[in-house]
Symmetry: C2
Subunit: 182 residues, 2 copies
């Protein structure tokens, strides 16, 4: 399903209220990081350094992802902590993973990072940036491009068709499973 | 689309972390409340009084709903405050709306409120409740049944196909609209 890569990510805003938006799942970290560190089941996304998400995560790194599959009537709720890898991240391993994530983007996806700052009032003089964004270099990420990594701590898997629900919790590096009431 | 009624609702947990789950949109309050008070554009859901959501909202009533339509590539983020209408709610008008919401539920939907407490360990001695839940009375809600009402304060409408984004904010009872960068 083409929309199965769209998931909802909740964070806490700087005023303590919840935020929830659709993001595109960009694969598991280990899929494209090319052996750079071992982060089993860490999920990745991308974001704009100028988006509110980045300020939110700086204050509260906690997140919950909700993934609903209408075909099978299954829901995964994945909670954990987020790490934002901007161009200024101190870890060279994560900076390399950021470049790899940029390479995997489509031209259209890359062009969005040359757009005006998300959420600011739309100005006539910036309209041309949406249509004629300059071509991007697939090897060099634009400044605003950030890789986002979710380290899962708990997974709540609900199967509505079977009336089954399992909790998976990470405890000292191991997943512990429990069957609970749906 | 059958799945267009499924939306993601984010709240803040009692430990300050975000929560995000799929809920079923049950219609606008004014659609079924039968002239009981005037709550334009208030959205409704239902929940179990024994679910974590109820404790979360008691501590922090703020919520954000994320509604993504894959067909048109549109997203609505609707933030506001939640009200939970349990059997013990002091407002008789809301209690009547709760009964009306119960009447609109399917038999299968109603039966779930007779199931064991959500999230607790699943016990063999409760298995029969999933299969042979006693029939429910469409006129009298089960104790665990709650109506949930979201009063919207801000709507962030993103149209990915057209690269358009509008913010709608409720200011003194009126919606104020602004065009912003997507």
């Amino acid at each position: 399903m083409p929309y199965a890569k769209y998931v909802q990510l909740a964070t806490v805003k700087t005023d303590g209220r919840p935020a929830c938006r659709t993001v595109v799942f960009r694969g598991f970290y280990d899929e494209f990081a090319g052996g750079l560190a071992d982060r089993p089941w860490h999920l990745t996304f991308v974001t704009d350094a100028r988006s509110k998400k980045v300020d939110e995560v700086a204050q509260s790194p906690f997140a919950e992802l909700c993934w609903y599959f209408p075909g099978t009537r299954e829901q995964y709720r994945i909670s954990g902590t987020l790490e934002i890898v901007s161009s200024a991240h101190p870890d060279p391993v994560l900076l390399k993973a950021r470049v790899n994530a940029w390479k995997r983007m489509s031209d259209g996806g890359r062009a969005q990072f040359a757009w005006p700052q998300p959420g600011l009032p739309r100005l006539e003089e910036h309209e041309h940036l949406y249509k004629d964004a300059p071509p991007t270099d697939p090897e060099i990420p634009l400044e605003a491009f950030c890789l986002v990594i979710l380290a899962p701590e708990e997974v709540d898997h609900l199967q509505l068709r079977e009336n089954e629900r399992q909790l998976h919790c990470m405890r000292e590096g191991e997943w512990v499973r429990a069957q609970v009431n749906p």
